[in-house]
Amino acid sequence: MSAAVNPSKVKPAPAALPLGVNTPSVTLPLAFMVTGLLALGAGMGWLVLQPRLLATYHYNQYVIAVTHLFVLGWICSVVMGAMYQLVPVALETKLYSERLARWQFAFHLVGFIGMVWMFRVWNMKQVGHFGSVLALGVGLFVYNMARTLRRVPKWNVTAVAVAAALFWSSFTVTAGLSIAIAKCSYDSTEGLAAAQGVRTLVDGLRSIAGFMSRFDAIGAMHAHAHLGGVGFFTMLIVGVSYKLIPMFTLSEIQSKRRAAGSIILLNVGLTGSFATILLRSPWKLAFALVGVGALAIYGWELAAILRARKRQTLDWGITYFLTAVVLLFPLSGLAVALSWPGLPLNLFTGQLENVYGFLGLIGVVSFAIIGMLYKIIPFLVWFGRYSRQIGRAQVPSLADLYSARLQAAGYWTFLAGLAAACGAAGLSSEMGVRIGCGLVSLGVATLALNVGTMLTHLFRPKPRPLSLQTSPVPKPV
């Protein structure tokens, strides 16, 4: 018997967590995710019907509309829904308000559908109105997440990345609305009384438009796109994977300094890239290299995590995600090439910009998201339907909820389609883009089919009595 305590061997005692610390109901994240899938299907269908959008230069209303369908409808929907589920679990805390999240879903749905439609008909005034509805939703999302982060008992690299992503997402929306404001025309306010709020509002919008007119329109659009693509999506992919990849491969972060370094450099690179893209500065290349360096450190740490894993088999969900990481290599190469000082804008380099955007959104971000969806959706469905029956009935395993064959088929068709569409976009081939996007659509269809199979368990659960598990089936004599 010994009462000796070695203080060097014990960590400071965190307060024991009370019961009731949990995540929102499964229907909320699932609603976001199903919305996202519908938007992805609609976006890919649009490109199949109008491959010219990808085979010609991207500065036109249709490309902007379909891009926002992918970015807001597909990626943001899934990412936001996943964050409501994952952030409380990964950071060991509780979502601040599920009610706010439900309101955000409504604003998000109305906002992004209206924006995409109004971009398509190029009514920038209405884009601004629907964009404001979306921004209201984003504001609720950021506030909800920020209050959730305040409850985090112990900050780590994932929490920092989530906080940074929230900042960049707010900045992205602000920049986007400013661009929309700059593209509107304003009537004279002289007839309005100074005390009226409308006059103040219009004068404010006009001064924002005046400020934005200092910048090149395409530069502002590209800077806005990088804020969202790198600041929100990539930041989250990098930060959250530091928690999820060790969780699903049974490993641990191998170097906290390396992980923190990648997040810091990504933020530095993005800050510089935003400013230099906006100002069309030759320093763009330097900050692109900082961003690429951040991703290289991320890849280094991820490889170390995978080498140390206890679970040797990588399932399709992880394979999808790691493919996204591999696709960062060609994407980074394109980023450096397109940042090269003095690079002329001609037919080929213009198409390379299309490839860069498509590879970034439909390649890197979508592969990462689909990989995580194949982890999150089965768990949400399983948890929502079967967790109460554990120990009381024989519940199916997560793998029983979907088809691994469909996962594999979807993976290869999606990847082949991505390669074909990127190649065809680079060569301005409409037929190639149609074939490539058709293949990607097939990949999306397999995902939808698998998700549908999972969701059937919500309505028709398939538990079996425990006796089937424990009693051997008697053999006929």
């Binding site: 010994s2 203080p7 005692a13 019961l19 699903f248 679970r311 768990f379 120990g391």
Partner: protein
């Protein structure tokens, strides 16, 4: 207090051994000027009722992750062992009218989600009425808490020095 008798039950619990009688025997042997120091991986709340019924008072505090100190002394009006009636066994659980506390250990480390949840809840389903459960996991079991609440259990989770988590589960 002149003397402190220390009983460290962390190893017992880790190996699935029942530490109740060990603690109660040590408490029974306490003199008026002595105190008993129990070191446990969680706050042994069920023990407190038994100690109070047998004339002991206690204080408890968390000193580190997964380490609790409980200091036990005799109440001033309680009799030391030499004054106890012949044949009585103050350390025996039966004297208090309570069944011995059965502690079940579940090691759910090294499992991919949601296997830890399944393993813990399946073990819990077979737990006897007075039984308690200690579950070790790689991560704080956030999805376990609502399930425990729904099944009438309460739990406390403490991070361990090796980065794992120990969750102590008992009935409400």
């Amino acid at each position: 207090m002149n003397k402190t008798v220390t009983v460290d039950v962390r190893e017992d619990i880790r190996h699935g051994r029942e530490p109740f009688s060990k603690i109660m025997n040590a408490a029974a042997a306490l003199q008026k000027h002595e105190q008993l120091l129990v070191i446990a991986p969680f706050e042994p709340v069920p023990l407190f009722r038994v100690l109070e019924k047998q004339g002991f008072r206690h204080t408890s505090r968390s000193v580190a992750a997964g380490e609790w100190e409980v200091r036990v002394t005799r109440q001033s009006n309680a009799s030391p062992p030499d004054a106890a009636p012949s044949g009585a066994s103050p350390g025996s659980c039966r004297d208090s009218g309570l069944a011995p506390m059965k502690m079940v250990e579940v090691d759910a480390r090294g499992l991919e989600p949601p296997q830890p949840l399944i393993k813990i809840l399946e073990t819990l389903a077979e737990l006897s009425d007075g039984g308690q459960l200690n579950a070790r996991t790689d991560r704080r079991p956030m999805h376990l808490y609502p399930q425990l609440e729904e099944r009438g259990f309460t739990a406390e989770t403490l991070e361990q020095p090796d980065g794992s988590f120990l969750t102590h589960v008992r009935r409400r």
